[in-house]
Symmetry: C2
Subunit: 380 residues, 2 copies
Amino acid sequence: MAAVEGITSFEPPRRVLMGPGPSDVHQRVLDAMARPTIGHLDPEFVRMMDELKELLRYAFRTRNQVTFPVSGPGSVGMETCFVNLVEPGDKVVVCRNGAFGGRQLENVERTGGVPVVVEDDWGTPVSLGKLEAALDANPDARILSFVHAETSTGVRSDAAEIAALAHERGALVIADTVTSLGGIPVLVDEWELDAVYSGSQKCLSCTPGLSPVTFSEAALDKVRARKTKCQSWFMDLNLVLPYWEGGARTYHHTAPVNPLYGLHEALLMLVEEGLEAAWRRHAELHAALVAGLEELGMSLLVEPAYRLPQLNAVCVPDGVDEAFVRTEALRRYGLEIGAGLGALAGKVWRIGLMGTSCTRANVDLCLEALSTLLPEAAAK
Amino acid sequence: MAAVEGITSFEPPRRVLMGPGPSDVHQRVLDAMARPTIGHLDPEFVRMMDELKELLRYAFRTRNQVTFPVSGPGSVGMETCFVNLVEPGDKVVVCRNGAFGGRQLENVERTGGVPVVVEDDWGTPVSLGKLEAALDANPDARILSFVHAETSTGVRSDAAEIAALAHERGALVIADTVTSLGGIPVLVDEWELDAVYSGSQKCLSCTPGLSPVTFSEAALDKVRARKTKCQSWFMDLNLVLPYWEGGARTYHHTAPVNPLYGLHEALLMLVEEGLEAAWRRHAELHAALVAGLEELGMSLLVEPAYRLPQLNAVCVPDGVDEAFVRTEALRRYGLEIGAGLGALAGKVWRIGLMGTSCTRANVDLCLEALSTLLPEAAAK
């Protein structure tokens, strides 16, 4: 008992979230999450679920029937794709050009798949030449996986071309769109992506903890034709789908009711703005941020052609204490920017311009904070 | 685009939740969930995480260091226990006396464990005699799993005795306390339970989507001594714990920030009431509900000694249209009561008295609704 004495309600500080996610959650979304909880089988809740699927189809640019938010963070959406599509012994070509490609590889290994890794340097996109060679050398590959928007580096890879190379050879395509969805075009049907996962807390600006996914009919055919049971009970699509699909909704797990209210509202805001307008906003404010950074003498890790507008990997100038800048930005400006991850730890900051966080005022705040803190950090 | 036109903000109806969960979420908890989102690595968030672990230790009556909420529904907490503790080939004694024991069995099978099932009828507790015989016949069993409070039947099994039988034979104990935690005693340290999972949306009355878990040192020793990698990347304790434990918190996944605010507040309310007082409230209002039901000529499925106060399986009287009663209770009274699950579908209603839903006013409302609707349902 002693240890809990003195604990009081948690009042979070006000922050401006310009890291790699979560992004700022709009008051409308927060208000939605605070509405009364109802049952996960309530007819009104089921109606909301149907709208949610429709809203996700809009965001993903797809007509895929099976399009819904997995009840867990993006990592659960990722694992849902791999444990359902990959059967033990399946050969999977995995493109790794950052931390999240590495996670895909972990997923393939833990699912009993046989991985073929296409390796590219952190900060560069997936090389189409290397990928083509790997596919040609492995004509029995059943699946190809890649990360559309690498959150660890700020790199965009060419989803349309990658998917085309795979489909020409009869492989299904798993795509990580955690950071891309809502910020740059993610054209699931046009590109013919087969299994796609995303996250709620990046350019959709909802609370973290939900993972939108969508599956093509070809992907579902492979799931239905499995010879072995999916290794995960929770993620087994054959068990989950009767809750999200069909006339009589069958209980599988208790859905995260209030966060789903939030996602519904966040997607509604995306529809109101328009997907193309959201893409334009991200592109324009990215240009403004980069111009300001360059005026401060800073440079970005990634070549302009492959930069993600919503996630900017900014090189830490020589002699600058990078942790000091992040700590003081948080303390003095309430501004969160992200540290480098893995191979880029200490070498870059990751400055996010995602969803609700992507505003002119935030760009200005970030540039003001850096212009003040950089000289201090260099003098240390 | 056409399909999303006409979708507006979701305004859920007001309900009184007396099903098998979710239970009513208090306005304080809803308000907490609507506070501004901050980063999952923000120092203030990390401080809140530490308080949350302390609050969960209070609820679980444990000093276990590793006590935290898994970022997913109770089913993910369940799977986290099984995929970490069970290695392929491990013999696991599974007690099945309802739907959720059946899920434990599914988890053992999908993890490559060798299950030994101790079967009891739905509506009865785990038989200690059968369990002892199964353990004696399988001295190489490494793990025993059971459901403390069967949400499908309303039965409480004797956790202390079950755990003692397992420990006498050197087996670790996995316990499902999804529906028990906060409603009846769950004494993790006193009973020496090794891996325990629960849910946020039952007697803790938080939004669904989080699963409190706690692990003994003996359980962690088995996890550390694994010869094979955990089959799940997301649930692998060796990867998750560096985020929840230790000085430098390492990013694993983005935690569901706002729902965790809600769980913090819900647990704080439990501390304010006092755990023993909460148990008493559940016992007293259960007695009032049962008295009222008996006055209406109704009976419960479970013998008094094994009844869960927080989940009452009420037999549908002969000739009564059970779906009519549930539908009309929702329509006319805004009252949700639960249907029977699996073997008990159509045979019982499940009336929950969980957490915030466990009030005298709700007992009265439920009895009033039933007294009106039963004659109508019988006349149909």
